[in-house]
Symmetry: C2
């Protein structure tokens, strides 16, 4: 067993939810295999991101005990860092694009973080983060390209494998690659013969291209995918880790992502965001393709990474419908 | 402990899911109490109805071993009876209005039931059911006004109380009254000092009126509520049982039902149908009102009765959004 991941687990287990593992007769029949869904949509702040945030910030406290930390994110990582900082008594400064949804800014502020706005393109974000670092002198917690974030993220797979035992395959979504790095590293250290598969939207297939090439990182260019958590590109650390531990990366279309989400909501009654449904879309695809015999009657784990999706419009429509 | 409910539990426990009990820090803070949500949305066919169906049909097999059974329903009861009949090797004939959604007819047929269409008003349904009984001679499994249905439904509370121990209150939705009857009967037999509260849509407040009157059943008249599972009226058996074991019935508005649903979907990441969210709407209401001290720091159980809601439009809109 990998010591980095068990150490991360000891660090964070008092702070994060041990999320449930769900199964479905219907799904097992559909794919002719035994599938275990690790429900990180039920995690605190609604996504696996708190695992990495608690681990990375605890690690920083152990080594340099900073008064604050800095990060940049407009997504689940921002709220995760804000929550972890509050509970670990560290100030958090979060660089967020000015055009990020105000509901996300409010939620992050609600956890006690200070939001620092930047321009809307990636270069603005980098420059603003450097400015903030120069001003405050706090360490930066990168959203994914950081070993402590990776090992924290890997604790979801650790819990899953500890609960259900050996799995033949684990599928995880890949955006920046933190979750896939941690998942595959954990799997290979516990069950070296098992396979880790990354699943990525075809419309943001930078990790797929980088992995197939094997020598360089292809950056994500104008990724147009509903899976908003997976639009980022690999970093050097996640690229290296994925090349070492991951067996394959496959892609899925937007329509396949929505169908997988629909299955999870309608049949399993759980709210999973598009990014979180991506690995199930991958499995549904793989088990329909020529490779299907590879998965037949196998034990398969899937990391449902999160459940944060804006339902304002859905409930507004529902409210209007009753006022007729 | 009530023997009817433990006997029902022994009969059905190999066939139904032991559904999870969920908790939420946010919810507990919001209502200043400890809340346990019994997630029957994760039950087979997506609702508690399978508990009563398996119990009632097993009971019939024990006492008269019929070749088939008859019921009338266009809702969750239809699918529950169809599934239970298939697994218990009994034919099922289900009387359903001609205007029932075809997706529901298909699902029920998918479990092997024979659908018999009738006209769209309640009187048509009664007449058609009588015709079918005369033709086939099979017994009828009423959707709620039947002790075996009630005792089956009560096993959800039994599992909840066995898992979490004594609760000060349990809240359940009330439509025809089967679930509330079984829940309250179970609660009072295990913890006589605890309180059972029924929650009903204000727009379908027949059980509320009947309970407050105490002498007669007020039928539901043109109930215009989004909680489609709660439009029915009490029967003589459920009225009697509720009068005996239930402490209070309260009502909620349509807007309150939608807000409770929104909380469950957005914050807890579970898909619960409007009828299933009704008791949480009741609790949110009660803990904001003058009675709030009554609930302060109490242990409160809520039966989330089901998760079947048509999401076709939601996912169609989502699909269209990606094709831009």
């Amino acid at each position: 067993m990998n010591q980095d991941i068990t150490r991360a687990y000891r660090r964070i287990s008092n702070y994060v939810n041990k999320t449930p593992v769900m199964t479905s007769r219907t799904l097992n029949k559909l794919v002719s295999a035994q599938v275990y869904l690790k429900c990180e949509n039920f995690q605190r702040v609604g996504a696996f991101k708190v695992r990495g945030a608690f681990n990375a910030i605890q690690h920083l406290i152990e080594v340099e005990n900073p008064a604050g930390i800095i990060t940049h994110s407009s997504g689940n990582h921002a709220q995760a860092v804000a929550l972890a900082s509050r509970e670990l008594n560290v100030q958090s400064l979060i660089v967020m694009p000015a055009n990020a949804p105000s509901v996300k800014k409010e939620a992050t502020r609600g956890y006690g973080a200070k939001i620092i706005e930047c321009g809307n393109n990636p270069q603005d974000r980098v420059e603003k983060t450097e400015e903030v670092v120069a001003e405050y002198g706090y360490p930066v917690v990168h959203p994914y390209n950081d070993y402590n974030i990776i090992h924290g993220a890997g604790t979801a797979a650790y819990e899953l494998l500890t609960e259900v035992g050996e799995l033949d395959f684990i599928l995880a979504p890949v955006g920046g690659g933190g979750l896939l790095s941690g998942t595959s590293k954990c799997l290979k250290s516990m069950f070296p013969k098992s396979s880790a598969i990354g699943v990525e939207p075809l419309n943001a297939n930078d990790a797929y291209l980088s992995f197939k090439d094997g020598t360089q990182i292809y950056p994500s260019v104008n990724p147009n995918t509903i899976a908003d958590g997976l639009r980022t590109s690999l970093g050097d650390i996640t690229f290296k880790t994925i090349k070492k531990f991951v067996d394959d990366i496959v892609t899925v279309t937007e329509e396949q992502i929505i169908l997988a989400m629909k299955f999870l909501w309608e049949r399993m009654k759980i709210v999973v965001e598009p990014s979180g449904a991506v690995p199930l879309a991958g499995l549904l695809n793989l088990t329909k393709s020529r490779q299907k015999d590879e998965f037949k009657n196998k034990q398969i784990g899937i990391i449902l990474s999160g459940g944060n999706i804006d339902l304002t419009d859905f409930f507004r429509t529902l409210s209007l419908s009753i006022q007729d």
